[in-house]
Symmetry: C2
Subunit: 140 residues, 2 copies
């Protein structure tokens, strides 16, 4: 197989297509999380709706996770290896840089346990930090 990404898709029960391989490749090449518009632009002239449905498929299958960073557009980033659609393991912090507007996963920074009244049933936790990222700080 020419595309090493094929195995990744198949492992997640996603039928490999040309478009999906391209989107996956783009996601793997970038260190920051990407919005739909980002992916569209990086791909050249791909159809936005197809990219949208590709990202939705990836999310449903546990290949990527969504990040709501407050920028107005949802960002997407590859999941960590152990993720399944049912049990996402991406309990890490996300950082949104107000200067370069890039959002990064910080897999090394785990989300601490939050002591909640037991009447609450927590399904998902999202911890987004906003500020100036390491790169922008060093430049300034």
């Amino acid at each position: 197989m020419a595309h090493p990404q094929e195995d990744t898709l198949i492992a997640k029960q996603i039928t490999p297509t040309a478009m999906r391989l391209l989107v996956l490749e783009v996601l793997q090449q970038q260190s920051a999380a990407l919005s739909l518009a980002d992916v569209e632009q990086l791909l050249g002239h791909a159809d936005r709706i197809t990219v949208h449905r590709t990202l939705k498929t990836f999310t449903d299958k546990g290949l990527v996770h969504r990040i709501e960073d407050g920028s107005g557009a949802v960002k997407f980033a590859l999941c960590e290896p152990g993720c399944t659609p049912e049990h996402h393991q991406d309990l890490h912090v996300h950082f949104f840089c107000t200067q370069c507007r890039e959002t990064s996963c910080l897999p090394a920074v785990a989300i601490p346990a939050i002591p909640l009244p037991s009447a609450f049933q927590v399904q998902e936790t999202s911890l987004v930090l906003k500020g100036v990222c390491a790169r922008c700080t060093s430049i300034a």
Copy 2:
């Protein structure tokens, strides 16, 4: 004065107007955070844009804080007493119920310190939990 809310606005350097008093009253009466559409609906037939600008003014002056809960619309809730536009004290957790779609401030649950590499300059922290709230849990 007939409106006890007037003092609250003046204390935050906000010129009291009829619309602003009404919006503040609505925010005080509700226990959950409100979206722009929520406020508009609760007010009857107020102009949406005016409400929008009222909430923006309130936010800029440190009277309310914005909550991005991933529902698609930003929610607004009253700040804690010590808040200023520069230094928001609302370092508490927010809970979004996927069942009733209500977002609540949990002032009692503080956000723990997040150990970040020193190269990052954190300006703001947002911790949103999603799940089923206490009320919806007890009903089910």
